[in-house]
C-alpha cells in the first residue's frame, strides 16, 4: 500500500499557517513532519506527514483550504556516508523526478527517515525493493 502526505495550498502571509495548524489541533491530528515550499509569487504548498492523512485532508478541505493527498515513499536511512546518494542515483537512472523530499529524525534519536514525493510512488517502491533499500509500510509511516 502506498502512503500519503497532505499537501495544502496557502498564501505566504502572516497567520495563514496558523489557520491550518488550528484546524489540525482542533481535530486532534498529529503532525509527524512538514515542509513548506514557497513560490516567488507569494504562495506556497505545505506538505504534512500526519498520523491520519485522509482525515486531515478532509477536515482541511471542509475548512476551505485547497488540500490534496499525495503519494509518498518513505525510506529508512542508515547512518553511513553515501546512502542518500546511492538511493537518488537509483531514481535518476530510472528517469524519475523527485518533486519534494524531506527528512525527520525518529524517536530513538539514532535513525532518520526520508519522505520522497514522486509522481509515480509505486514504481519507486518497486525500484527500491529490488535494490534492497528498506521502505516503510503504510502502518509504519503513520505510526512513526
Amino acid at each position: 500500500m502506498i502512503a500519503h502526505q497532505v499537501s495544502v495550498f496557502l498564501e505566504n502571509k502572516p497567520g495563514r499557517l496558523e489557520k491550518i495548524t488550528a484546524v489540525l489541533k482542533e481535530q486532534q491530528l498529529n503532525i509527524r513532519a512538514m515542509t513548506l515550499s514557497t513560490s516567488t509569487a507569494g504562495w506556497g504548498i505545505l506538505n504534512l506527514l500526519a498520523d491520519q492523512p485522509e482525515r486531515a485532508c478532509q477536515v482541511l478541505t471542509a475548512a476551505g483550504h485547497p488540500a490534496a493527498l499525495r503519494e509518498i515513499v518513505v525510506v529508512k536511512m542508515t547512518d553511513a556516508p553515501g546512502t542518500l546518494h546511492d538511493m537518488l542515483l537509483l531514481l535518476a537512472k530510472a528517469g524519475l523526478n523527485v518533486q519534494n523530499a524531506y527528512g525527520t529524525v525518529l524517536g530513538d534519536q539514532r535513525s532518520a527517515i526520508l519522505v520522497i514525493d514522486v509522481e509515480d510512488a509505486e514504481s519507486v517502491q518497486q525500484i527500491f525493493s529490488e535494490a534492497g533499500v528498506e521502505t516503510l509500510s503504510t502502518e509504519q509511516v503513520y505510526r512513526i
Binding site: 513560490s39 485547497p66 490534496a68 499525495r70 518533486q99
Partner: protein, 436 residues
Amino acid sequence: MYWEPEIEQLPLARLQQLQLERLHKTIECAGRSPFYQQQFASGGVAVEQLRHIDDIRSLPFTTKDDLRSHFPYGFLADPKDGPVRLHCSSGTTGNPTVIFHNQHDLASWANLVARSLYCAGVRPTDVFQNICGYGLFTGGLGFQYGAEHLGALVIPAAAGNSRRQIKLMQDFATTAVHTIPSYLLRLHSVFTELGIDPRRDTDLRLFVIGAEPHSEGQRRRIEELFGVSAYNSYGLSEMNGPGVAFECQQQNGLHIWEDCFVVEIIDQETLEPLPDGEFGELVLTTLDRQAMPLLRYRTRDLTRILPEPCPCGRTHRRLDRITGRSDDMLILKGCNIFPMQIEKVLMRFAEVGSDYLIVVENRNGSDEMQIQVEVQKEWFTGNMEALENLSRKISHEVRDEILVTPAICLVEPGSLPKSEGKAVRVQDLRKPQESV
C-alpha cells in the same frame, strides 16, 4: 411568445414614426424642466424641424455631470402630474443622481420589465425570487413590480443571507431568479456546503442576470452549475432601471425597446453617430417618461447594435453584450484594457475560481498589473510545478488578449474582497482614492 405582439413586431417604418411622435411629446415635456428650459432657450430647439427620428442628432447630449450638477430638482419636468417616487444612485463618486417617476412612468416601467421577463421566458406560472437590494437601487422594486405585472408569484428576497435564499427556493419551489452573476457563483458554493444539489433538489429553470458586466464564459459556467438557462438584462437607473434591453430565447444580443427609447451609438472621441455593427458609446433618449425625460443621455456603456434581424421575430434591434463602461477602462503602458477582456481569459481555466481582482500600481515609474485569482479546491493536486505552469499559462493568454503581461497571483479560495452587492474587480492604486 410575445407580451405585446403588435408592438414587439412593429415594422421599422411604423416604429420610427411612433418614435418621432413620442419624441415631439418628450421634448415638449422636457422643456418644462429648469435644465432643458435653459438649454432650449440658449440652443433653440425647433420641434417642427424634427421630421425624421434621425434628426434627433441635432439635439445636444445630456451627461451624468449635468444630472449631478442639477441635483436634486433641476431635471424634474412635471410638477403638475406630480412625481410619486424617486430612485437615487449611491453617490460614492460625487453628487448622487436622482430620477423621478410619476404614476404613468411607473406603470410604463413595470410594463417594460414584464415585457422583458416574458421575452426571456418568464410566465405567470413562475415563482420569481428577486435577489437584489430593494430601496434606492432600481433592481429591487423594478423587478418586483414588473414580475407582478406579468403575473408571476414574486418573492422579494432582497440581497444577502445565502442560506435563507436557498431555504426560500426550497420552501416555495422557486423557478426563476433575478440577481447579479457574481452572487450566483457565491450562492453555488453555499449549496455545495449544505450538500444540496441545485440541479436535483430545486425547481430552478431560469435566471435573469444583469447589473454587472460579465463574460459569455461566466454565463455558461452559471448555466452549467445550476442546470438552468440564464438571460442577460440591461438597464440603468437613468433609464428607469431594469427593462431597457433584454435577451430573448436566442440568448444572442439584447432587444432594446425602441418604442420607449431612442438608441444611438456614437464615437466617443468625435461624438459622431456610428452605423449599426460598430462599437461605441450607447446614447439613449426616453420616449415614455413624463416626470423626468432625458434627451440623448450618454450612458458611458460601450456596445454596438447587432445589425442582423433576430430569428425571434421582434423588430426592436439588439444590443451586443456590454463590453464595459468607459469609466472602467484602464490605460496601462499605452494599452486600453477592459476588465471584461481579462475575465474572458480567466473563464477558460477551470483550475481557478470565478472571482478575480486586478491590481494596478506604479512600481519604480512603471505601471504593473497583478491579477489575483483563487485556486479551486477541486482542482488542487498539491503539485507545485503544475501551479507554477498554470500561472505562466494564464499570464501568457492574458497578454495575448490585452498586450500587457500581468503577474498572476494565486490566492486561497474566498480571500478576495467582496463588497455588499457588486463584486470588486479592479483596484487602481495609481490614482488617489476618490472620497466616498
